[in-house]
Each structure stands twice: as C-alpha cells, then as structure tokens.
Symmetry: C2
Subunit: 365 residues, 2 copies
C-alpha cells in the first residue's frame, strides 16, 4: 500500500485500512452551495464567483454521466485548472464503484438522480444566518446513513461546496477548535486573512464567540456553516454506527469531525479521514493539527503525483492549486484498496489524463 500515506495516527490508520480490504464500498457525494463562496477571493471552485452555484451539480454530473450537463465543459478555477471531480471519476471508474449523490441544499439541480433531504441553499455567513434547517437535514441524512449501512460494506463520503473551507473555519472556531491559519484552500495563496475576517463578521452578526457552541454543533452550522455539513455529518452519524466510514476531504473534514464527535462520540472508532497528498503537503494548512484537537481518528492520504503529467492543467495540482474536493483522495484510496493495489497512483494519473483529454476535446468542439 505504498500509494497510501499515513498522515496522522499511523497505527490506527493501518488497522482501519485492514478492515476495509476486500470489502465493497459505496461512494456518496454530498453537495451544497453557500453565498459565502461569492465573496471575492474566497473560493476558486468556479471560473467566476457566481458560477460557484453550478460547480457542485456539474461535479456530480461528471461522476455519474462522464460529462457535465448544467455547464459547458467542466468546473474550473479562474485560471482554468479543472475540478478534482476528474480524479474522483477516474478512481470510481477504474474500480467500478457505485455512486449516490446527496443534496444538502442547492440552487441549480443536477441532471442526475440525487437524494433530497429538504435542505436549502446556504446564506452568506457574514449574516450569521448560514443554514436554515440544519437539524432536519441532519436527521434525514442520519436515517439515510442507517439504510445505506445495510447495503454497503463501508462508505466513502466526499463533498463539493465552494467556499467550504471558510465555513469549516467558522464552525470549528464556534466549536472551540483552533483552526485559525490551519485550513487549506483551493488557491495556492491561501487567503487566511480574508477567511478569518469573514468568520468574524458572522460571529458578530450571530453574537457568538470562540468555543461558544462547542456542545451545539448544529447551531454552529446554522450560524456560520454551510448546507453540506449537516447532510455529511448525518450520513456519518447514521452509517458509522454499523460500518466503517472514510470521510473524504481536506481540512473541511475537521468541521465534520467536530460535529460528529459532539453528537455521537461513540462511533468515532469507525471513522477515518481520507485525503490527497497535496493537502498533507500544504504548508499553509495543518490538517493533522486540526484533527489532533478533536479526536484520535486516522488521516490517510492518496499518494497522488501529477508532476509528470503531460497536461499543464493537471501539473498545476503540484503547485498547490485545488488540492482536493469531490472526495478525490478518499475515492482513490477506496479504488486502490478494492483492486488490492492493482490500481496505483500511476494508473490513476493515466486515467485522469484520459478523462481530461476527452473533456477538453469535447469542450473545444
């Protein structure tokens, strides 16, 4: 398993991987949007801020259909670097993994089947009113997680929510996790200052302080979170009672972990975080430093390396652009495991390049 890095809590990580070997996973992708992503400079998950409403539905269309329907081409950063959904799609395709999509709250509906949990699009966290019905969405997601746990042997859960690291910072600070300066970004120049100012405005608007909502995670989500969070946390809470769950994402998973720990601490032994090497290598962030404050769960990373790619749009990942998203790292880990290592980082890059080439070509014609 040289293609999986043990980034935190190595022994538990190895034991967790052993439990997953030979088992059949289900990949669930939780999507949502927040007005927070439209604050200039916050998110690179869309060519323009207003396009961030289309990124999550386009990402899951890519996973299920092999192409996007609600936008032309694929989601890109302002510099044209493509969505990590390409990596997720490559992993799911190579390993023939099933995918289910869960909406936490959207403006644009994807042209694929998706689970509706009654969620709404998220507000700008500077208003202090970020998510309308976090508790309802959490409860429905928990019920869904319980049912999925009866058919899947383990769950890999990814997410796509532009602006998600800023809302994650908000929820972690509200819950007393010192994540300041530790959260990652889809941009190479991590705008820590802008993010903390945004969160501080939300704190002022909702009258909360650092750690004030340590025991009320869904209130924290309601004030300064995003609609992906209650759906993701509910799925974990429902499924990890009976099967292992790989939470696939970067530093945002710190917020989910804090929510799950506050609401259902007993299931943490069934939980690990799966991400990419690019998040682990990010010198502007500290995923292990976040997780260590919350719970002793392992952090695994897919040892992806795009430095030898023939496409500049993929090489850019090595420069710290995008890094993670749409469960890319966790999907790669699941693909590697399911194939007993036959699917490697090298094979994954080749598949990503194939998909990239097809979609860039079809974008041109």
């Amino acid at each position: 398993m040289r293609d999986v890095i043990f980034a935190f809590n190595e022994n538990a990580g190895k034991a967790f991987l052993e439990r997953l070997k030979g088992k059949k996973p289900l990949f669930a992708c939780v999507i949502g949007v927040t007005e927070t992503a439209k604050i200039p400079g916050i998110s690179a998950a869309g060519k323009y801020p207003d396009l961030t409403d289309y990124t999550p539905p386009a990402d899951v269309e890519l996973l299920l259909l092999g192409k996007c329907k609600c936008i032309h081409g694929v989601p890109v950063t302002p510099e044209g670097i493509p969505t990590p959904a390409l990596i997720t799609k490559a992993a799911l395709g190579l390993a023939d993994l099933p995918v289910l999509v869960v909406s936490g709250g959207l403006k644009i509906k994807p042209q694929i089947p998706f689970f509706d949990l009654g969620g709404n699009p998220g507000g700008d966290i500077r208003t202090g009113n970020a998510v309308k019905n976090a508790e309802e969405v959490f409860e429905k997601a928990k019920l869904l997680g319980e049912n999925l746990a009866k058919i899947a042997e383990y769950l890999v859960i990814g997410e796509s929510v532009p602006g998600g690291t800023t809302t994650a910072l908000g929820v972690m600070l509200a819950m007393g996790v010192n994540a300041e300066g530790k959260i990652s970004s889809s941009m190479p120049n991590n705008p820590h200052e802008l993010k903390i100012k945004t969160v501080e405005a939300g704190f002022r608007a909702s009258g909360i302080k650092f750690g004030a909502l340590a025991n009320d995670p869904l209130k924290a989500v309601s004030c300064v979170g995003d609609p992906m969070m209650p759906a993701f946390a509910g799925l974990v809470a429902g499924a990890a009672e009976s099967i292992p769950v790989l939470m696939a994402g970067g530093t945002q998973m710190g917020a989910i972990l804090a929510i799950v720990k506050a609401l259902k601490p007993k299931i943490l032994g069934n939980v690990a975080i799966g991400t990419t090497r690019w998040v682990i290598a990010d010198k502007t962030a500290d995923l292990a430093g976040i997780v260590a404050q919350i719970a002793d769960v392992p952090v695994l990373a897919a040892n992806l390396d795009f430095s030898l790619s023939k496409f500049d749009g993929l090489k850019a990942y090595e420069a710290g652009v995008v890094k993670e998203g749409v469960g890319a790292g966790g999907a790669c880990i699941a693909a590697i495991l399911k194939s007993s290592g036959m699917i490697s980082s090298v094979g994954l890059l080749a598949e990503v390049e194939k998909i990239y080439n097809q979609l860039v070509s079809s974008d041109v014609t």
Copy 2:
C-alpha cells in the same frame, strides 16, 4: 417455501427464488401522484380523493420512520381500512431490509430522504397529457438502477400511486395489451366501467388507439400513464442488466413489464413479479392473463392470510379491500427468503397487528 405461491410460470418462479436465496436485497419504493386519482370512484387509496396526494409520502414515511408525518394516523380507504404499507413495514422490519425511496413526481414531499429524478406530479389522463418528462425520469432512474445494482444483490421495487390501476390500464391498452376487465382494484367492487371510460377519454384527447404505442412506451406513459411508471421502469431497466429484480405489485406491474419489454427485452430473464395472494385470488382481475400477453416472467405471491386477525381493519383484506400496494407482497417474499423461511405468513400477520395496534393507539391519543 409454502409461504410463497407460484401463480404463473411455476418452474421459472422456483428457479428465480433459488437465485435469491441467501442474497441481500434492497427495497426501493417508487412513489408518485396523478390527478386521475381524484376522479370520484377511481381510487380507495385515501379517505377522500384530495387526500390521495398525501398517501404516497405518508406510506414511505411509515416505512422509514414507523409513523406518518405528513398526515395524522396512516393512509386509509374511505371505509377506514389501512394502507398496505403496514405489511411492507412489518416485512422490512422483521428482516431488517434497507429501504430507499424514489420520487417519480409528487405534490407533497415526504419528511424522509428520497431520490429526486426531476419528475412532476401527473395530470388527469382524460386530458391525454398525463406525464410531462417521462423520458428524462426514465433515463435518470436507469442510471440510479445501474448504481444500486453495484451494491445490492437483488432489488425489490414497490410503488405507491393512487389511481395507478387506471393509468396502468391506459398504458397497457395503448401498448396493445388487452387488459380490459383484467386489472385489479383497491376496492372490493372493481369499477371496471369507470376505468375504461377514463382511459377512452384519454385516448380521444391524445388521438391514440389500442396498440398504437406498442413500440413507444414512454409516449404511452406521457399520454395516459402516471409519474411512478418511468421511474419504476427505469430502475428495472438499469438494475436488471446485472442483478435480479422482483417487481413488487399487482396488475399495475403489467404496464411496467410492457414498458421494460419494449425498451430492454434482453433483461427479462432477470425479472419476476411478486404480489400478494389477494391479487391472485381476485376474481375481478387476471394478473396471469395480463403477464401471459407480455412476457414469460414468473409471478410469485406471498401467501398472506388475515382471516384470523383480531382487527377488523386487517380482516377486511380477506374481503378484497386494498389487496396490495407499497410493494407489500414482494417485501414479504424477500423477508421470507432472507430468513430462510423463519419469517412466515403467521409471523408477518403478528407483526402487522403489532404495528397496526401501535398506530391506531397513537392515532387515538
């Protein structure tokens, strides 16, 4: 397996059951509504015609939560006989089977997680414009079926759509299946004449004749069907390519079978119909006579017997009220199989009575 009746194509039915033994099923319930159900005298799936919009969401709330949220109590016929969802719930609960809900088109959303396929509530078939986007819903459901087939070992698919036998009659006649006088009803006095008049009005409005749409099943659905149909047929088309599918329902399954046969005849070897003894015993209907016209698939029936029930509301099933719905028969067959016969018709009645008692009590308080 004395609790399963082989009602049509016995040898194939026995072989089909053998294939399911020891396997883990997933129960999917497809729901939808149609204005057709509001024609006085057409449907007993609701206390009043206007309440039929609430019956499907209430049915699936019962399956997932053990109680209804969008209505008080449980769905009942005008005479107060309770929904067959009680039977489905008993079977799923005893065998601990997972449930996923799929919406084909609703007016009232259930308070549980459900798959959105972009469908709309159905129109009155007398207008000839019954279902808006049948093709879109079919394609999305197919994609969902393909993905579910990667996690479940077989699918049991049920439905809840008030007015569904009339729309089934419409689609079968449009496709050249002579179902006149052969479709069942949720009422003991089967209103065949009203149903055929309703379908004839739809034929006039859409300018079609018997058999005119034999090769265009989704057009038949668009003109005189209901929104459950493209979702149900799409799930079968997507899943039965790789796993067995038990289509759980009564004579409505004739319409689904005709649609599937027209669009994907190769998968019929992976398909069977599962229903209740009450449908088979219905002298006003002829499920086998319908199926024989379409395809050589087996028809199985759960050998349920409520004649000794201590509740009049359940005894009424023996008088031919309700008979089937919400996949009751198929869910019972799956529960019997999963338990290797430990779950019996007697045990199922006891569990139905337990649930009935709880929900009637909670209705009173």
